[in-house]
């Protein structure tokens, strides 16, 4: 009997602890932010910037939620936010092809919705009250490849470390790499194109295998993000190869250090702060009755050793 009571008591404690954590609802605007995954380092920078934008603005609170890379959970979170009565939504899509239900839900609730970083609409125009803040992913890939083409002098072999295959960023960046090769550098061949799922260790594994398979034919590695690029750097270090250029995207702190010491040839700054704050800015304007552009593009910047100092 005592044990049963104890168990129930514990459950009660957990629940009340949970309530204690709940914040009292305040007057003013409440914005729901659904991140694709809190484990996605880049996205946490975007999220922090977005939250930070409202830090000095009275009457605005932002609630952060984690979709854990699960489309259904993302939908559930959006619906829960709406039930709770949020005034606006910011969403980083888990899967850009699966955003219709979320758009519909926001529309029914009559609240503005801003997508960040990943654009479900691609080239198409956005519906009313739906916004996008981000970068044109294809440009990152083009900037990477242009720089790589120069370094290699227009010839050689490269490998592409792709992010998750169902992700728009991964597909577009790779597309950017490929388009520059076919337009400008016909002398460069793509030796391999494999997915490292954005992960450092998988990027390393793939590179190790490429080194085995292609040896000195491999001259450059284009990674869809810095994590995988850094993995490639490790693999190259281990193999004692210093002649292979590696490039990433995102300009995370580790990557900037690597650019500084020359192990990474370049990274492309996807402006996390610009995107996060940009999204909040759009929502802020809309909530205040101002007009906002339906699409806001935040530019990419190529960071090399030369201009690194500007970004520290």
């Amino acid at each position: 009997m005592r044990r049963v009571l104890l168990v129930l008591l514990l459950t009660g404690l957990i629940i009340s602890a949970v309530f204690a954590g709940g914040e009292k609802e305040s007057e003013g605007f409440k914005i729901g932010y659904v991140c694709n995954s809190f484990n996605d380092t880049f996205q946490t920078y975007v999220m922090d910037a977005s939250e930070g934008y409202f830090a000095d603005k009275d009457g605005y609170t932002m609630v952060l939620q984690d979709a854990q890379e699960d489309v259904i959970r993302q939908q559930d979170l959006v619906n829960t936010f709406i039930a709770q009565g949020v005034d606006a939504l910011i969403v980083v899509p888990v899967d850009t092809s699966a955003m219709d239900p979320i758009v519909r839900a926001a529309e029914e609730a009559g609240i503005p919705l801003c997508f960040v970083n990943r654009n479900p609409y691609g080239e198409k125009s956005l519906p009313k009250n739906v916004y996008y803040v981000g970068s044109q992913e294809i440009i990152a890939g083009q900037q990477q490849m242009n720089s790589m083409g120069e370094l290699l002098g227009g010839k050689g072999g490269v490998g592409i470390l792709m992010g998750k295959l169902d992700n728009e960023g991964a597909l577009k960046r790779t597309e950017g790499n490929e388009s520059v090769i076919s337009d400008k550098y016909p002398g460069i061949t793509i030796l391999a194109k494999e997915t490292g799922n954005w992960q450092r260790d998988q990027g390393m594994t793939l590179t190790e295998n490429w080194l085995t398979a292609y040896g000195t034919k491999l001259n450059g590695i284009l990674a869809n993000n810095d994590e995988m690029a850094l993995g490639a750097v490790e693999a190259l270090k281990a193999a004692g190869r210093e002649d292979v250029y590696v490039m990433g995207v995102d300009a995370i702190p580790d990557a900037k250090v690597a650019v500084g010491n020359g192990s990474l040839a370049a990274t492309v700054l996807q402006d996390a702060v610009g995107q996060g704050a940009g999204a909040s800015d759009v929502i802020y304007k809309v909530l205040n009755g101002d007009s906002a552009d339906s699409v806001t593009m935040i530019p990419f910047v190529l960071i090399t050793k030369e201009n690194l100092a500007d970004f520290q």
């Binding site: 984690d66 450092r200 190790e208 295998n209 080194l211 398979a213 490790e234 193999a239």
Partner: protein, 323 residues
């Protein structure tokens, strides 16, 4: 003559690693036919390094499974231990003590799993499923989703854990070999090892002979967790940073490695060398498919088939060997 041959065959079949070993040979053969780069030293070293982390975990998991229990939380511990270490190192504590503290946390988690199991008699599958989710969540809460990089300059200790040593080998490979030898020794050479087999093979018999079954199980949970923590540290040593998502789903691969290596799910049978081979086989499959030019997701489908086939094969061999 014929009888001698028969005896030899039975003797061969009695080696508990025979199934995984022959599987390994077949796979090596297939891949060396498919890719000319497969049978090279660099490739071997590459595979070995990749396998090391999975392998170190698989050693612990096998050790625990022989005593008849499961651990699904190793993937989380794999990240928790080095994360603890990284936070302490960055706060200025010496890398060695941070390392010990990380392993201590891993040991605590293992002890907790074992303790809850003994006290509540809930199947270990559920207990460790709960602790897997709990600690993965805790990781996220503590790290905020960011990977933690070592900011200090004292890299020598990290080098020992996961740095490059010679001929392209990484220290993690050495740890893997040391772990294999150490646990093989414990299992086959010490009194405790016999007790582990006895507890997994026949709990009642073990009790009757005066073995403290609960103690053996808790110790094994701790050992399993510490190995997962050690594996996490070698990964940390390789990258100088640790990601909160590290080790996701690694628990299932580790169990797969153990099972391919011939361990019995019900306990009482299995070998560390088998786990070594099992992990190596998984590593080969992963890299061999890439070298052979297959899209990387073929790996998933293959690993499942290898798992099921190897278990069926191991069962059959065991039957043939024991009549």
């Amino acid at each position: 003559m014929k009888q001698q041959l028969h005896k030899l065959i039975v003797k061969l079949l009695r080696i508990s690693e025979i199934g995984s070993l022959s599987g390994l040979l077949i796979i090596v053969l297939v891949f060396s036919l498919l890719s000319e780069h497969f049978l090279t030293w660099t490739n071997f070293v590459g595979i070995f390094t990749m396998t090391a982390e999975l392998g170190i975990i698989a050693i612990g998991v096998t050790f625990l499974m022989i005593s008849g229990e499961f651990d699904l939380s190793v993937g989380s511990v794999f990240a928790v231990a080095p994360m603890t270490g990284a936070i302490l190192m960055n706060s200025g504590i010496s890398p060695f003590f941070s390392f010990l503290a990380g392993l201590f946390v891993a040991a605590l988690i293992g002890g907790l799993n074992g303790f809850v199991l003994i006290k509540t008699k809930i199947p270990s599958f559920i207990v460790t499923l709960g602790s897997m989710m709990f600690f993965r969540g805790l990781l996220l809460a503590v790290s905020g989703g960011f990977q933690i990089s070592y900011i200090g300059q004292n890299n020598s200790f990290l080098e020992v854990l996961g740095g490059k040593i010679f001929l392209g080998m990484r220290a993690s490979g050495i740890w893997f070999i040391i772990g294999t030898i150490f646990f093989s020794y414990i299992l086959n050479r010490t009194k405790y090892g016999n007790h582990v087999f006895a507890v997994g093979g026949n709990q009642e018999a073990a009790k009757a002979i005066g073995i403290n079954v609960s103690k053996v199980k808790i110790i094994n949970f701790v050992a399993c967790s510490v190995m997962a923590g050690l594996a996490g540290f070698t990964m940390f040593g390789r990258f100088n940073s640790i990601d909160p998502t590290a080790g996701l789903q690694l628990e299932l691969e580790a169990i797969a490695a153990a099972v391919i290596g011939g361990v019995l799910l019900t306990g009482g049978y299995g070998s560390i060398i088998g786990a070594f081979i099992g992990a190596f086989l998984i590593g080969i499959l992963r890299s061999g498919l890439i070298l052979a030019g297959a899209p990387s997701y073929w790996y998933k489908a293959f690993i499942g088939i290898v798992l099921v086939v190897s278990v069926i094969l191991n069962t059959k061999i065991r039957k043939a060997a024991t009549g």
